[in-house]
């Protein structure tokens, strides 16, 4: 274990092929301790396959996925060191929620008090915990899955679509939970096919499409590339002012303009020309969404019109 990899998840040139189909194609990235890393991509982009390889469930065709420099299979009693949630619905429908946690706790050699603690943490009532999982809603299964991942008090979390099926309050709860984990120095990797979820939870974002990494960086980095949205009462005066200042801009719905330049420069240019602005803000959400849609357009099942995102 070198100093560089301590606590980190390091995926290096990972490839998984099924017949001739490359589900994961030369993927490299790292997740560092103290941060929540979001793994973003449309359905079938290769997120789950990558995460299954990390947890030693799927053999890689080429490349490695190491946790703190160690192969998952070489970690003794891994549940006490890495919390994994791969599919909340992959449960024996006939077991009660409590029983599922009990089995995991027994396997890891934990005291049974951990089961009650985790049930309380994920807000599954004693009554609910004694019901069979086939009677659980997707949100309850997700909570149970998260409880199962946290059971062994791990410092590293790998969660595949943990927010799927949670109600808004549940998503808020999970966000603070993962934030707390990362703030205490833990390493958190979570995947989602929903941009908004990743945007509110993650510090660092990895975007995957068609098995390939299409973008990665801190949220700030990815957002800063989105530029500025600016709007004035007199649209043509604003356009002229920007041209004069040497700023290229393009129309962006609602009579506003979008530019790659930062808001401060754009504001100055407008002030110099004496143009009164109605709106001046970083084009953040829309910018990332636009990027996500564009970068993954070829892998989307539906035909995507980026116009909608620009508007």
């Amino acid at each position: 274990m070198t100093g560089q990899t301590v606590g980190m998840i390091t995926v290096d040139r990972l490839t998984k092929t099924y017949g001739g189909y490359k589900a994961v194609d030369d993927v490299s990235f790292t997740c560092r301790p103290g941060a929540v890393t979001g793994f973003l991509g449309p359905n079938g982009a290769g997120k789950s396959t990558t995460m299954r390889i990390m947890a030693g469930l799927t053999p890689a065709t080429a490349g490695t996925a190491l946790i703190s420099g160690v192969r998952y299979q070489d970690i003794p009693n891994p549940g006490t060191q890495i919390g994994v949630l791969l599919d909340a619905s992959a449960q024996h429908a006939g077991r009660t929620g409590r029983e599922i946690l009990t089995i995991s706790a027994l396997t890891m050699g934990l005291p049974m008090s951990r089961v009650d603690e985790m049930l309380e943490l994920v807000s599954l009532s004693p009554r609910e915990s004694k019901r069979r999982v086939k009677n659980y809603s997707l949100g309850m299964r997700q909570r149970l899955g998260i409880a199962n991942a946290l059971l062994g008090d791990p410092q590293i979390l790998i969660l595949d679509e943990p927010a799927n099926g949670l109600d808004p309050a549940g998503i808020h709860w999970m966000r603070s939970l993962l934030r707390h984990y990362a703030d205490r120095g833990g390493t958190v990797l979570l995947s989602s096919h929903l941009l908004h979820e990743i945007e509110v939870i993650a510090d660092e974002i990895i975007v995957i499409g068609n098995g390939r990494i299409v973008a990665q960086g801190t949220k700030a980095e990815l957002l800063s590339t989105a530029g500025t949205f600016v709007k004035a009462g007199d649209a043509s005066a604003l356009a002229n002012a920007l041209v004069t200042a040497g700023i290229t801009a393009s129309p962006s719905g609602d009579g506003g303009l979008r530019t790659e330049t930062d808001p401060a420069t754009v504001g100055k240019a407008a002030a110099v020309a004496g143009v009164a602005l109605v709106e001046l803000r970083p084009a953040e959400g829309a910018g990332l969404e636009e990027m996500f849609l564009e970068l993954t357009a070829s892998t989307q099942r539906e035909a995507v019109t980026t116009e909608g995102a620009k508007a």
């Binding site: 160690v70 070489d74 970690i75 003794p76 619905s89 590293i156 205490r184």
Partner: protein, 259 residues
């Protein structure tokens, strides 16, 4: 939690703990629980059937033993099959093999658990049969006849454990519940028929049969115990029909994708 590290010196999960977990998993669902209970229930029904329908002068422990033993030939392998295939069909393997990534150890724990359940099941079934023998004799006003020795019983248990392991092997090899059960039925009913026909019409096969027909080579277990040569035949046929396919199955499980 100041720095995140992976502790590679932590003790790994002992096999005994996995056996305990697997044993629990056999009972903790309604279907699993009743499958286990069915051992006792079927044994009880078979025993009552013996008392009701077998002519009084023929009622002896051997008859009860045969009656309670027969359903076990199907029940025990099904229990063994389900313990393996449910990890795939119910997708619980996603958690099982994440918490215990050494799959060979998990398979070993499941095999040990299945054998424990098989032996315990046979003891329960024969205890119920023995009770039937006492009750039946009392009804007839005669002394009960105990014509199964302890050695006989051990050999019968051994034969049933072999059958259970065949089911286990098919579960590991096929990893699909209906597929493995159908394969078991074909294995235990179709295969002996084919061997029988072959032996009846082909002289060269007749001498070979005991060495390669696993069902045939098990018959001495129900008939006072195998001779030295018969043990050897049990070994060679068991190697062909149990050990080799189980090895292939375990090898496939170690390399397969759990999803």
């Amino acid at each position: 939690m100041s720095t995140v590290t992976i502790d590679t010196d932590r003790p790994s999960i002992p096999l005994s703990r996995l056996v305990k977990v697997e044993l629990r998993k056999m009972f903790d669902t309604r279907s699993g629980f009743w499958l286990m209970m069915s051992i006792a229930i079927v044994a009880l029904l078979a025993t009552i059937g013996c008392i009701l329908f077998v002519p009084n002068e023929d009622l002896e422990f051997g008859v009860f033993g045969q009656a309670v033993g027969f359903p076990m030939v199907l029940l025990l392998p099904v229990i063994a099959i389900l313990s393996v295939t449910s990890e795939w069909s119910q997708r619980t393997g996603l958690i099982t093999f994440t918490l215990a990534p050494h799959r060979g150890q998990v398979v070993a724990a499941k095999a040990i658990t299945a054998v424990i359940v098989g032996v315990a099941g046979m003891v329960v079934a024969f205890a119920i049969g023995g009770l039937g023998n006492i009750v039946g004799s009392a009804i007839n006003g005669v002394d009960p006849v105990w014509n199964i020795s302890f050695l006989d019983f051990v050999l019968i248990v051994l034969a049933n454990v072999l059958g259970l392991l065949v089911g286990f092997m098919l579960g590991v090899l096929i990893r699909n519940t209906p597929g493995a059960i159908v394969a078991y039925v074909a294995y235990s009913f179709l295969l002996p028929t084919i061997f029988g026909i072959l032996a009846a019409f082909q002289d060269w096969f007749k001498d070979l049969q005991p060495w390669i027909d696993f069902g045939y080579s098990q018959t001495p277990l129900f008939d006072g115990g195998p001779s030295g040569e018969e043990w050897a035949q049990l070994g060679t046929s068991g190697l062909i029909w149990l050990v080799i396919p189980l090895t292939v199955g375990v090898w496939a499980v170690l390399r397969s994708e759990v999803k």
